[in-house]
């Protein structure tokens, strides 16, 4: 029951919203208290798996391989985001409709927690959908035109993703004859080459989770939704929720089973996403948009890592896989952790920065904090980021030789991109803080709220806490577990490692400098994303218009209109006149008489004839 309690606790909190008296409690401290049980569970450990046969389609809730880890991340980030949101609301900068916000916040949280521990397809799907759909309410919370547009795109893509994911799950469920992720992955592991159901499942799941995870081409909603959502929501969106797509892959796909083709597809997709997002994002003006692109870019790297894990045929049976046994997998998880914390702290930092007018020193402090988090992302030495890079490199090393060399060569370049994004981000934040322009797209009322806002302590605490975690967690872990590969990863390469970590950052900074030198204050250009999106929308509108004006849209289209038929017959001029005329004729004696005589004669004739 503990499992259900943990997942359901936010929903219970949510129920408090229904009553006027308890409402403020739920929409206030409830936001950050709601994830406490989950945090506790992730830290303490859950015990026996919870099997609930009556719930959904036989629900199994447990940590599994990754659950505890994701639950930890989720609960931490949501606690921080809840704290931030509460504090923002307290200080009046939370925007309007805090009860609605709280509702969607809590429901999304519940779904997110559930996804982390769901061990079977059905419940995973349920929680996944709960999370995805409720997040819509968060994204469009501010109700600016931009937010609504972002919400629309998000909703459409989410629905498509959900449906495709559902299809993938349907297939897996039948193929494995079980709804457990473990069985599903085992079934997929025995895949043969060529286009078959396994391939279908792969592609469906790739797209289905890919929309959530921001695979290149499916990431269109991300740069729109993250800036539009309230800060706390952006933090969890970018910090945790997009990682759930990753979790799905990890759970569903047979890792280390040597599915090289699919692995390479994912690796390439990831790499392309990482490069593209860096290129597309750095010139943006809204810092949150840059962060969103950075998320896409970082997710690209994680996807690449998943691709590696898929492609590599491990020496161990996959069910013997344990956390920490393989540097690639563990590195990926650390990546998730580091990126989640760092990105959340970056978003919260932006929110903090925008929340009020800061004095110059305070602004500097914020900026330093943001820069530190940025550095972690960029993989500066002795941070989690460096560790991640190391792990990725080792993962690439396990590939077949051609691929391995290529990826190892390319990997540092992604760090350049990340640095570029981060540096541009910092610049934009600094600029916005110093120039102090109101963000044009905020709702006027929201902007007014901002005007009168004070900064809450909770916002600072939330941000600071996350920052500390980002900076401190990996070195701490290194200190705590010197013997693990963590330690080896950080320590083994020495000065060369330091150099490897530093030169991409330097390169990135140089690129930033160059860009700003030549293009400072230039207008924000539409990126490829916007163009694609605009084209799609235009065509959709055209299709819509065509459809509405087409004959297929007429009410009678597609029906066999019996009434119209009958009317056509009964109202026809023939029917109006002829039967009457005939009937009138039939009323005459002579007509009837002739018919009668004729009838008798015919009757006699046939009787006579057949009697012969």
């Amino acid at each position: 029951m503990i499992w259900l309690f943990v997942i359901g606790f936010p929903l219970l909190t949510c129920c408090l919203l229904g009553h006027a008296r308890t409402r403020d409690l739920a929409a206030g401290p409830g936001l950050w208290l709601a994830s406490f049980p989950a945090l506790g569970l992730a830290l303490v450990g859950g015990g026996a798996p919870g099997v609930f046969p009556a719930l959904f389609l036989e629900t199994t809730l447990h940590f599994g391989l990754y659950g505890r880890f994701f639950l930890l991340l989720t609960s931490m980030l949501w606690t921080a985001a809840g704290l931030f949101a509460w504090s923002a609301a307290q200080s009046g900068s939370g925007g309007r409709d805090q009860f609605r916000f709280a509702f969607f916040f809590l429901v999304t949280l519940s779904g997110n927690l559930g996804v982390c521990v769901a061990q079977d397809l059905a419940s995973f799907y349920v929680f996944f959908a709960m999370m995805s759909f409720a997040a819509y309410g968060l994204i469009i919370h501010d109700q600016t035109p931009k937010a609504l547009h972002a919400g629309k795109i998000y909703l459409i893509m989410t629905v498509i993703g959900e449906v495709l994911l559902g299809a993938a799950f349907f297939y897996v469920g039948v193929m494995a004859d079980s709804l457990l992720f473990a069985d599903a992955a085992q079934t997929l592991a025995s895949a043969e080459a060529g286009w078959n159901r396994n391939a279908l499942v792969f592609s469906l799941a790739l797209v289905g989770f890919g929309i959530k995870a921001g695979v290149l081409g499916l990431h269109l909603w991300l740069p729109l939704a993250h800036p539009a959502a309230p800060t706390a929501a952006s933090a969890v969106l970018s910090g945790v929720m997009i990682k759930i797509g990753l979790l799905g892959w990890l759970q569903l796909f047979p890792l280390f089973a040597g599915q090289e083709s699919w692995g390479m597809v994912m690796a390439w997709l990831g790499l392309a996403g990482a490069v593209y997002a860096a290129a597309a994002g750095f010139a943006r003006h809204d810092p949150k948009t840059i962060l969103a692109y950075s998320s896409v870019s970082q997710m690209g790297l994680m996807i690449m890592a998943v691709g590696f894990a898929l492609a590599v045929g491990g020496p161990w049976a996959w069910d013997g896989l344990a956390l920490g046994a393989d540097p690639l997998l563990s590195g990926l998880l650390v990546f998730v952790l580091v990126h989640g914390l760092a990105k959340a702290s970056l978003f919260l930092g932006v929110g903090l920065a925008k929340a009020a007018r800061w004095s110059r020193s305070q602004a500097r402090l914020i900026l330093v904090g943001l820069a530190a988090a940025g550095l972690v992302l960029a993989g500066a030495p002795f941070t989690g980021g460096a560790l991640v890079k190391q792990a990725l490199k080792s993962g690439a090393g396990q590939l077949s030789p051609i691929w391995s060399d290529f990826f190892i060569a390319v990997l540092p370049l992604t760090a350049v991109g990340t640095t570029l994004l981060m540096a541009m981000f910092l610049w934009r934040v600094w600029w916005s803080m110093s120039v102090n322009v109101d963000l044009p797209e905020t709702h006027p009322e929201t902007a007014q709220d901002f005007e009168s806002a004070k900064t809450g302590l909770g916002m600072v605490v939330a941000w600071g806490g996350l920052l500390i975690l980002v900076l401190g967690v990996v070195p701490l872990a290194f200190l705590a577990l010197p013997g693990s590969w963590l330690g080896m990863g950080l320590a083994a390469e020495g000065w060369k490692g330091l150099w490897d970590g530093l030169w991409p950052i330097a390169l990135g900074l140089a690129a930033t400098g160059l860009f700003l030198r030549f293009n400072q204050g230039g207008p924000e250009a539409n990126g490829l994303d916007d163009l694609v999106l605009a084209a799609v929308e235009r065509n959709a509108a055209r299709l819509h218009a065509w459809w509405w004006s087409s004959p297929y849209c007429e009410p009678a289209c597609g029906t066999i209109n019996l009434v119209a038929w009958s009317d056509r017959i009964l109202q026809s001029s023939w029917m109006q006149t002829v039967p009457d005329r005939i009937e009138r004729r039939l009323l005459y004696w002579h007509t009837v008489g002739v018919l009668f005589v004729g009838f008798v004669l015919v009757f006699l004739a046939v009787t006579w004839w057949s009697g012969r």
């Binding site: 009434v563 039967p579 039939l586 009757f603 009787t607």
Partner: protein, 536 residues
């Protein structure tokens, strides 16, 4: 079993008694005679049920000279139908003619004529003598015409005279056939005739003439010219009598002629010919009914259509001559037809009686005037609905049983085309029944008289007319309905309810009907009663 004779005598005596009386006593005596006749029917029915067909020779004179009476299951069914409808029509008429001066004037004429007619009907069902049948048919015909012209309006007089000429003509043609037959065989008793007929020309001509004459009286399609005006123009109880019972007498006789007297000379093609006419009647009559705008005319044309179903029997049973009788579907066809007679008799009488209630209440039988009848006269509308259901052949009703049997028979015998006609006829029937019903639902308030119906369908057009009319001067006051006596409504409702109830008790009817005919039981079901009473 002199009871059989009483079946004829009781109504006759009642009629004579009615002639001698004055005032409301006529009605009460008439009703008492009706009840007595219906009551007499019961022991007779029980007798036939228990010990098979009855044959009596009046006065002890045997066949060639005396007048013989014969009652088998088939005749018993017709007697029963007449008794039920007759009694309820009597009840209805008691209330109907009690209303106002115009109706009260007819009362002293109605009862004697009706009772004599009833006696004639019973006689037709009981008689075995083809000439006596002629006399009785004439009696029925004269009575029917007398009832038709009861209201004395110009239209009804013209319709009545036309009816009289038609029925006289039919009878004379029939008599011509009888004369030929007698000239050839020297017999009048149907059973003696059955043994005596051969394939000679005079016999065939006699057969053709008798069939033709009876068809005119039975109003099969091209010969229905007298029916709609007569049925529509008569007062309600009379229409019920004419439509529910009188047309059935000629049909009954046709059955006797075809399947008792001439079974050996009937040609399959001739049977098909009747079937085709029946099919045409079904389609044409129903189509005409759909096109009517007056309630009583609609119901009258519906009679033309419904009578058509009866003639499928001739097509179904003649193909293999005598052999067809041993097939399972022969008995299905029989029961289907008899059930249809029942269904139509009960339902049509109920419809006419309900229509009478409406005419009484509204003062007109225009369909367009029937606004919000469903709200103001719910029981009458309900009666219309239930009777309509039976006509359509929808469950649960006796009409459904009839259609079920007819369909099965036509499919089982391989003559599937009748099945198609039956299905289409059902649709057309639904069209006119629901045409009536939909008018009853138009609200009086006309709260959206301005709203145009979307399509321009017929019902829409009619509704539109109603709406336009409504916008006119009538808008201020909805015409008040005159009160309808509860007894009338109740009688109609009872008939309608019987339509439903008979649908559930088919087994006994089948048993009664079939065992006297030497037909195979159509199903494995165990038939009730002792099968195989002695046949004469």
């Amino acid at each position: 079993m002199t009871l059989a004779a009483w079946m004829i005598l009781v109504p006759f005596m009642g009629g004579v008694a009615c002639l001698l009386l004055r005032g409301r006593a006529v009605a009460w005596v008439g009703l008492a005679a009706s009840a007595a006749t219906a009551w007499t029917c019961l022991p007779l029915l029980r007798h036939v049920w228990h010990s098979g067909p009855v044959r009596i020779d009046l006065g002890g004179w045997a066949a060639p000279l005396g007048i013989g009476l014969y009652l088998d299951g088939l005749g018993a069914m017709f007697l029963l139908l007449t008794a039920i409808v007759g009694l309820l029509v009597g009840v209805y008429a008691l209330a109907f003619f009690g209303r106002g001066r115009e109706y009260a004037r007819m009362e002293p004429y109605f009862w004697p004529v009706w009772l004599v007619l009833w006696g004639g009907l019973n006689g037709v069902y009981l008689s075995v003598d083809v000439f006596n049948v002629y006399v009785l048919l004439e009696m029925v015909g004269l009575g029917a015409v007398g009832l038709t012209v009861l209201s004395g309006t110009n239209d009804s007089l013209v319709a009545g005279l036309r009816y009289l000429l038609a029925t006289m003509f039919g009878s004379l043609i029939y008599l011509l056939g009888v004369a030929l037959l007698y000239a050839q065989t020297g017999h009048l008793d149907i059973f003696l005739l059955a043994d005596a007929v051969d394939g000679s020309l005079p016999v065939l001509v006699a057969f053709g003439l008798m069939t033709g004459g009876l068809l005119i009286k039975a109003a099969l399609l091209p010969f229905h010219f007298w029916l709609p005006p007569a049925h529509a123009g008569a007062p309600a109880p009379v229409s019920a009598i004419l439509s529910g019972m009188v047309t059935k007498a000629s049909f009954f006789l046709l059955l006797r002629i075809w399947f008792v007297v001439f079974p050996d000379v009937t040609a399959p093609v001739a049977g098909q010919l009747l079937g085709v006419l029946g099919a045409a009647a079904v389609l044409w009559g129903s189509l005409q009914a759909v096109r009517q705008t007056r309630l009583k005319l609609l119901v009258a044309y519906s009679t033309v259509g419904q009578l058509g179903y009866l003639f499928f029997l001739f097509a179904l049973l003649t193909p293999a001559g005598g052999e067809a009788w041993s097939e399972g579907w022969a008995s299905m066809a029989w029961t289907g037809t008899v059930f249809h007679v029942f269904s139509h008799g009960l339902a049509k009488a109920a419809l006419f009686m309900a229509a009478g209630c409406l005419v009484l209440a509204m003062g007109t039988d225009e369909l367009a005037a029937m606004r919000d009848i469903a709200g103001r006269l719910p029981v009458v509308t309900f009666t219309l609905g239930v009777a309509g259901v039976s006509l359509m052949g929808l469950p649960p009703s006796v009409g459904f049983v009839a259609k079920w049997m007819l369909l099965k028979a036509s499919l089982a015998s391989g003559q599937w085309w009748w099945a198609v006609v039956i299905a289409m006829g059902g649709l057309l029937t639904a069209a006119y029944v629901f045409k009536i019903l939909s008018f009853t639902f138009v609200p009086v308030g006309g709260h959206d008289a301005n709203a145009r119906p979307k399509a321009g369908p017929k019902a829409g057009r009619n509704v539109d007319q109603g709406a336009n009319e409504h916008q006119g001067p009538k808008n201020s006051g909805v015409p008040e309905l005159r009160p309808v006596p509860a007894l009338m409504t109740l009688a109609a409702l009872t008939l309608a309810a019987l339509c439903v109830l008979f649908g559930f008790r088919a087994e006994e009817v089948i048993a009664l009907l079939l065992r006297d005919m030497g037909l195979e039981p159509p199903f494995d079901a165990v038939l009730i009663g002792n099968i195989g009473g002695d046949r004469p």
